[in-house]
């Protein structure tokens, strides 16, 4: 009985013993932790700074740090996609948005709302719970980073276009819809109103100008 109990406990102990512990980190782990600390610090500055443009610039640091983490996890293609899409376009879009809404340069005292302390309590509680659960669940789990890279461009293209073609194409349709929607939403009403009323008068059967023109007239 005792022997079977020990044997049932054994796999976890053996797994913990056969792998390196926290006290003998590898170089990849040290690099991961250091970059992770920098990423987390940049993210914290992003959500707490009172200068809006600085928040966007610190977001670049956070997203670039995440790209380095992807590289350390051998997901090369995703790392470069992260750099291209997030650092290259999303942050630029955010900066454009900040400029177009005439965000104040310099400190703005009303960047945070009144429920800051409630938000802090919720975030700290969620962080404590999540970290506790995650550490408790994956204490004895190690990632094997050796062997062929699992996220190289060749491997990514292979699995993306061999197994994920249909979601890929559906996603391109979604991107097209988002593009059209963004253009429709951000079109200025006053400038297009004279152009929109003319085809409505000439072609009363057309549906699309009819649906959008009264909305633009009210603006």
């Amino acid at each position: 009985m005792i022997a079977t109990g020990v044997a049932s406990l054994d796999p976890a102990l053996a797994a913990a013993a056969s792998h390196p512990g926290f006290l003998s980190p590898t170089g990849v782990e040290i690099a991961f932790v250091l970059v992770g600390i920098a990423t987390l610090g940049a993210a914290l500055v992003t959500v707490t700074t009172r200068q809006l443009v600085h928040a966007a610039l610190w977001l670049i640091v956070a997203l670039g740090g995440l790209a380095v983490e992807y590289l350390l996890l051998t997901a090369e293609f995703i790392a470069w996609v992260q750099v291209l899409i997030y650092v290259g376009s999303v942050v630029v879009l955010l900066l454009f948005g900040l400029m177009l809404t005439r965000a104040p340069i310099g400190r703005s005292p009303d960047a945070d709302s009144e429920n800051r302390w409630t938000a802090l309590a919720v975030a700290v509680a969620a962080a404590g719970t999540l970290v506790w659960v995650v550490v408790d669940a994956f204490r004895t789990t190690w990632i094997e980073l050796d062997g062929p890279a699992q996220g190289s461009t060749e491997a990514t293209g292979s699995f993306l276009f061999r197994h994920w073609v249909l979601p890929f194409e559906a996603l391109s349709v979604l991107l097209l819809a988002a593009l059209v929607g963004a253009i429709v939403l951000s079109r200025r009403g006053r400038e297009t109103a004279p152009g929109a009323t003319a085809p409505r008068a000439s072609a009363p059967g057309a549906n699309a100008p009819r649906a959008t023109a009264p909305r633009e007239d009210k603006r």
Partner: protein, 139 residues
């Protein structure tokens, strides 16, 4: 590499984004925090994909899809923020209270720290005429 490192980093990044979404007032800063939360999810997906060595590589494929959807989301979100800014001359989400049901919630939080040029058309558009004028402005 220990799996706890990326998992803990993702959890902390997610909670940082959660704080930003709840505490920020400018709509664009809220969008930045949403990006942080999405990136935390991406890090989890990549880490678990590398750990499990899935034959289909579901984690990495879903990460790419999440990145694309996040790009679409940020485009649509910024278009909505710009449309609201054109109508209200403000990107302050605390002032968007058109769907509030009670009369107390209708009262706008006044903060005198705003700049005067941004304040004038905003008060003209939202404050005095109340619900009817606001509904007309967003129609």
């Amino acid at each position: 590499m220990h799996l706890a490192y990326p998992a803990v980093l993702a959890a902390l990044l997610f909670c940082t984004g959660l704080y930003g979404v709840l505490a920020r007032r400018n709509a664009i800063l809220v969008l930045m925090s949403v990006e942080l939360m999405l990136n935390a999810v991406n890090l989890n997906l990549v880490a678990f994909d590398v750990w499990l060595r899935d034959a289909l590589h579901s984690g990495q494929a879903l990460t790419l899809f999440t990145i694309a959807i996040a790009a679409a989301e940020i485009g649509i979100g910024l278009a909505i923020v710009l449309a609201v800014y054109r109508n209200r001359a403000s990107s302050d989400i605390d002032r968007l209270r058109d769907t509030a049901e009670t009369d107390e919630a209708e009262e706008l939080p006044d903060d005198p720290d705003d700049e005067s040029d941004a304040e004038a058309p905003e008060d003209q558009a939202t404050a005095p005429a109340g619900k009817a004028k606001k509904a007309e402005a967003t129609a």
